[in-house]
């Protein structure tokens, strides 16, 4: 490390200042509105009931997701080569990018009162399923999203088991149970708390699922209660109180999360492909097959239902409506704008953290700055939006600004994705090539053109595409700021679901998925280039 090196502080400083500044302003606006209310009025039986439901549904969702994910992940870990394995792993990644409200439609098409399962049961003389709304619906939706996420994270832990362990286990004649107890369990114990905390946090702050399936004050979480107080009851005092409770709860959880969430130290060696000795055991084969089939159907069912219902709905009728395309255009502009904002903030932050970590030897400071860029873990988009709402309401016509505000909130929410995708590439580029650049005099624009851009354009494309696709399907921010006049496609879909216009909803859902896909593919292909390796 060079002595007396002066790191490039301003880009990251500016990025953090604007995101943290915005969060501070939003929180400040909430606190400023708070003195007019007494905390006692907010901390009443309603708040307590909402908080209790929020915690209970999150606990149950986490437990169910993990209980389901463990056998599925173990089956993926044990069966390293069966036809369709790569495809199924990809499928496990889909719920992450599927717009939540679209997924809710797909889940209703399978598990709802008139869904595929209920119809099949009635056809065979059994009583059908009860409506999806309420706790059971929320749990099904949360497990739909988080079981695949947990599978992917747990599988990562399995893959850090060194190949030599399998060779040793085979030589010592360890059976499946001994292998699980002595090799796999110790490795899992080190990651399960982190995975569980992440899933709990996601379910605790889940908005669109609960909004669509929650039905009534009995099944409301803090996030949805804040929204209802702001937009339905127009009770700003209550919204502020609930938002403060939410921030406090998330702050506590985030602290616990970062205590638990240590990345498992990789002990994987060069020889990764040593076969496990326990793959021929018959009961194991049965269990793994069952787990894989159930897990795949669980995820694929709603996805297929979305496609079938959409194609058999009134496609021509819906697609010939001018307002549908206007809404689609709004969704895309929010999405692309949010993606661009996230990209600019993320790259600015990484320019500084890379300089600190690679060239100034200040790795800890760099990591902390990147962590601060992920502040939405503590300040959820609803709280951020609520703060902006309370701040701007007396100043500007908030509802006229719905789209830029939605893009702003979504952009800040997406910064962590940009950081995760681009940080390794940017740091590696500096580590490998700094000296060569220095000796060749490659700097400034020439360095960007000949080194940074070719090295990171794929990552930039993926980050922008992912952030944009997620924001295109967003319901959280637009529910807060949007009106009938400037509805996005997701808001239109939510309203169609709310008024039981299921045929229309089916087409809108498929259109929204298609739109997110197009946004993703166009940005990734257009920016990332095709013929690059």
């Amino acid at each position: 490390m060079m002595t007396g090196y002066r790191p490039l502080l301003w880009p990251g400083g500016l990025a953090l200042l604007s995101t943290l500044g915005l969060a501070a302003v939003a929180l400040g606006a909430l606190l400023h509105a708070a003195p007019e209310l007494s905390m006692a009025a907010v901390w009443d039986s309603y708040t307590l009931r909402v908080l209790r439901f929020t915690v209970i549904q999150a606990l149950l969702s986490t437990a169910l997701s993990l209980a389901f994910a463990l056998p599925v992940a173990r089956a993926f870990a044990r069966r390293t080569s069966f036809p369709g394995r790569t495809f199924l792993l990809r499928v496990m990644g889909l719920p992450l990018v599927l717009p939540v409200i679209v997924a809710v439609f797909g889940i209703a098409a399978i598990w709802g009162q008139n869904g595929a399962i209920s119809n099949a049961m009635e056809a065979s003389g059994l009583p059908g399923l009860s409506p999806l709304y309420g706790l059971s619906g929320i749990l099904i939706a949360h497990v739909f999203f988080n079981m695949p996420l947990a599978v992917r994270l747990l599988l990562g832990a399995w893959q850090t088991i060194p190949g030599e362990s399998w060779r040793l286990a085979g030589q010592l004649g360890m059976g499946p149970w001994a292998i699980f107890r002595l090799i796999e369990l110790p490795r899992l114990i080190s990651v399960i708390p982190g995975v569980a905390m992440l899933v709990f946090l996601l379910c605790f702050t889940s908005f669109a699922v609960v909004l669509a399936l929650g039905g009534g004050p009995r099944n409301t979480t803090l996030e949805v209660a804040i929204y209802q107080a702001l937009r339905l009851d127009f009770d700003i005092a209550r919204a502020v109180g609930l938002a403060l409770v939410q921030v406090a709860a998330c702050a506590v959880m985030a602290v616990i999360f970062f205590r638990f969430a240590k990345t498992p130290e990789s002990q994987a060696t060069e020889e990764r492909l040593i076969a496990r000795p326990d793959t021929d055991h018959l009961p194991g084969r049965v269990i793994d097959t069952l787990a894989l089939v159930t897990g795949s159907l669980w995820v694929l069912g709603p996805l297929i239902a979305i496609v079938i219902a959409g194609l058999s709905g009134p496609v021509i009728d819906v697609l010939s409506r001018r307002e549908v395309w206007a809404a689609a255009l709004r969704s895309v502009s929010v999405g692309v704008g949010a993606g661009l904002l996230a990209l600019v903030l993320g790259i600015a932050l990484l320019a500084t953290t890379r300089d600190l970590a690679v060239r100034a030897g200040r790795t800890r400071l760099a990591d902390r700055m990147e962590l601060a860029g992920s502040l939405t873990l503590v300040i959820s988009p609803i709280v951020l939006g609520a703060g902006l709402f309370v701040l701007l309401l007396p100043l500007v016509p908030v509802f006229d600004w719905a789209l830029p505000l939605a893009a702003l909130v979504n952009g800040i929410v997406a910064v962590p994705y940009v950081l995760r995708i681009l940080a390794p590439t940017l740091r590696r580029t500096a580590e490998h090539h700094d000296r060569l650049c220095a000796s060749l005099g490659l700097r400034g624009w020439a360095r960007i053109r000949h080194l940074e851009w070719p090295a990171s354009r794929r990552g930039i494309a993926t980050a922008w595409a992912l952030a944009s696709a997620l924001a295109t399907g967003d319901l959280t921010a637009i529910a807060l700021f949007g009106t009938q006049r400037d509805a996005t496609l997701s808001l239109m879909l939510y309203r169609a679901l709310g008024s039981y216009r299921m045929d229309e909803a089916a087409v809108l859902a498929l259109l929204l998925v298609g739109l997110c896909l197009v946004v993703f593919v166009v940005i990734e292909g257009g920016i990332g280039g095709r013929n690059r390796t």
């Binding site: 220095a438 000796s439 005099g441 000949h450 080194l451 070719p454 090295a455």
Partner: protein
């Protein structure tokens, strides 16, 4: 030889407890080897000469010119690193071209110079190849070709051939040595193998205990080690 190709006088550098002082004069146009145990400061010496590190005291001269305060790109020096000598997304021609113009605007004369350089390192016609389509040895040859077009009088070898097999390593050393004779440049290499030094180096420096413990013609230095630490290092 009147001019020194590389001169370090009272060059000091270190972190905390670990401090080194270098005094060395390598004659112009010669091939010098740096031997010594791991951690003796061989690569640090090269980093100081290339300008990646700045000494806390002393002066560094190349071909009689003081370079102590110059930026790496301004020094009349080229370094071949152990790895990452080439940008993976650029062709051989572009990688070499960066040595002529960092913004890669090349005239047709410069392009034919590059082709000539490729030919000299035995890679004629490979202009359009990206590094992934070259073997490890060929990649280092491209880097050598770049050092040729840069026309810097001092070439530093920071173990660029360490990952290659013994026969290939000898070929590469012979290639560098032949190019040195043609161009009259000075070469300084870090080495772990006294046999490599014997093969190509006119003179050898032995680094030990925070400085240069011995320096002289390679053959006499290695045949009759009069410094005890060198004898111990060589195992004689």
């Amino acid at each position: 030889m009147d001019v020194t190709g590389l001169e370090l006088s009272g060059v000091r550098f270190g972190y905390g407890d670990w401090q080194v002082t270098y005094d060395l004069a390598v004659p112009s146009g010669s091939f010098a080897a740096l031997l010594g145990a791991s951690g003796a400061g061989k690569s640090t010496l090269l980093s100081l000469v290339a300008g990646f590190e700045r000494p806390t005291a002393g002066a560094i001269g190349v071909q009689g010119k003081d370079v102590t305060n110059l930026a790496p790109a301004e020094r009349p020096v080229t370094t071949l690193f152990q790895e990452h000598n080439l940008f993976p997304h650029l062709t051989a021609l572009q990688n070499i071209g960066l040595g002529i113009d960092p913004s890669l605007r090349l005239t047709s004369t410069q392009k034919s110079d590059i082709s000539a350089a490729l030919e000299r390192v035995g890679l004629a016609g490979m202009e359009a190849r990206p590094p992934r389509e070259l073997s490890g040895g060929e990649r280092q040859r491209v880097a050598i070709a770049r050092s040729l077009v840069r026309q810097r009088p001092l070439l530093l070898l920071d173990e660029p051939f360490a990952a290659l097999g013994p026969a290939l390593r000898r070929d590469m050393l012979d290639l560098v040595n032949a190019l040195r004779r043609d161009t009259g440049m000075t070469v300084v290499m870090v080495s772990h193998d006294p046999a490599d030094a014997r093969r190509v180096a006119d003179c050898t420096a032995f680094l030990h205990d925070g400085g240069i413990a011995d320096f002289g013609p390679t053959a006499s230095l290695l045949d009759n080690p009069d410094v005890p630490a060198l004898a111990e290092y060589l195992g004689v």
